[in-house]
Symmetry: C2
Subunit: 231 residues, 2 copies
DNA sequence: CGACTGCTTGATGTTGCTCAACGTGCGTGG
DNA sequence: CCACGCACGTTGAGCAACATCAAGCAGTCG
């Protein structure tokens, strides 16, 4: 295990993701020895699909995307995450690989935690393990719903879904700056960038949103929700 | 907790799914008190989406499908599972609901296990918990890949994927009887039954498969794999 | 200033859905 | 026993949804 210690410590950290809140003082002290803090600039890759998963990432602040890519350069953004959040990809209990690429969409403040130390705590603290199980399970549920959306809704519904996700789960606001390019919005909704563009201008023309570059204000949330629900 | 004891016991069971193999004798004895065995006929619902998740299911023999349904009667088959397999849906650590409907595709032999007893073992036996984590994680990985397939491949690739899945993961054979109707194959591949039908006859005409009702024999596996990979 | 990147918009092409017709078992009731 | 309805599968024609291709338009960076 790597042992690097840096700025501050886990005991005092107020950006802990939910699982780490379940740890005892001595456990926080322990994990503090096996983590280090890094700041990623917007656009930087935090880890890459198919590389060995030697760390778990605790994102304290910032927004990041989880992307699957294949050989044909077709990408799918699986999820957008906002700190505080624990990224302990499914590979660490299966094949010790990352199964998606994690990329910073804004500046990201994160702790890189040794996976062996993390697993040790999973085995020793059942509260911690319970919370991790709960996190994993919630991710699965969200992902089931997303798959349903991507396969059964059409363009307008999917873009509406994306707007709702940003508004309610990422920014908690009706006005926000989308941290994705049109291309990336396409990768998130399973559309081309052109389709995304057309739908956003359509929404603007119908006065459902204000649109200025990546700045979006949701004007008629009910209508957006209706569009999302009717596919 | 319900306490019903029936035919045989967990200690002697040779159809245990992987997690239960990690249990000690006294734990098997314990769980044996909180489970009962049921046989489901082909087509019967084992549990239904949105109902309270009071049990986990250990499928010892048979094939079942996990389906998400919405109010518009649009269905998505998330997964096809074959015993021995543990179905401890993601809801049990989140909101105590089932998030999909589980339906028997063949006769299914299963043990219904009290969820509280199951959770107790998760907390008390870290090997058991580890294996469960591993199962959950593997499911996530498979589901990520499936989402990628459903959003990025087109019809022929998706049907090819389905055939490969049945051939390699369910039946371990080149010849098998698909336990799904054309409609259900559509719900699994995100297509309409008409499209599925057309593609299967196309595959037959191209001599990639033999096709007689639901009996399928894969004649040219390499070609099918190529089709799958090229989308 | 020119090259480049990202966004928008329009024209055109393709994919896959919808709808309708028809065939084939299969169970049910007269 | 046959007649009938019903569920399921197949096939074709037409259409809607979405992608592709191409052009133009900022903004930005050297």
């Amino acid at each position: 295990m790597i042992n690097i210690h840096q700025n501050g410590n886990c005991m005092e950290c107020d950006k802990k993701c939910s699982a780490f809140k379940r740890l005892q003082l001595e456990e926080l002290n322990y994990i503090n020895q096996y983590r280090f803090h890094i700041t990623y600039k917007k656009g930087e890759i935090i880890f890459k699909q198919n590389t060995p998963a030697s760390n778990v990432i605790s994102v304290s602040r910032g927004i990041a995307k989880c992307t699957m890519e294949d050989k044909n350069n077709k990408n799918l953004i699986l999820n957008i995450v906002k700190g505080p959040a624990l990224i302990a990809g499914p590979g660490i209990f299966v094949d010790n690989k990352y199964h998606y690429t994690l990329t910073a969409l804004t500046d990201v403040y994160a702790c890189i935690i040794d996976v062996l130390a993390f697993k040790k705590l999973i085995r020793e603290n059942t509260d911690f393990a319970d919370q991790y199980l709960s996190d994993l399970s919630l991710q699965s549920i969200n992902h089931y719903n997303r798959t349903f959306c991507l396969t059964h809704k059409q363009m307008h519904g999917r873009v509406a879904d994306a707007l709702i996700h940003f508004s309610q789960h990422i920014f908690n606001a009706n006005q926000f700056e989308i941290p994705l390019s049109r291309q990336e919005l396409g990768e998130y909704t399973g559309l081309t960038k052109e389709s995304v563009s057309r739908i956003l201008t359509k929404f603007r023309d119908d006065e459902l949103i204000n649109l200025e570059g990546n700045n979006i204000e949701i004007l008629n949330k009910e209508k957006i929700i209706t569009i999302s629900e009717n596919g």
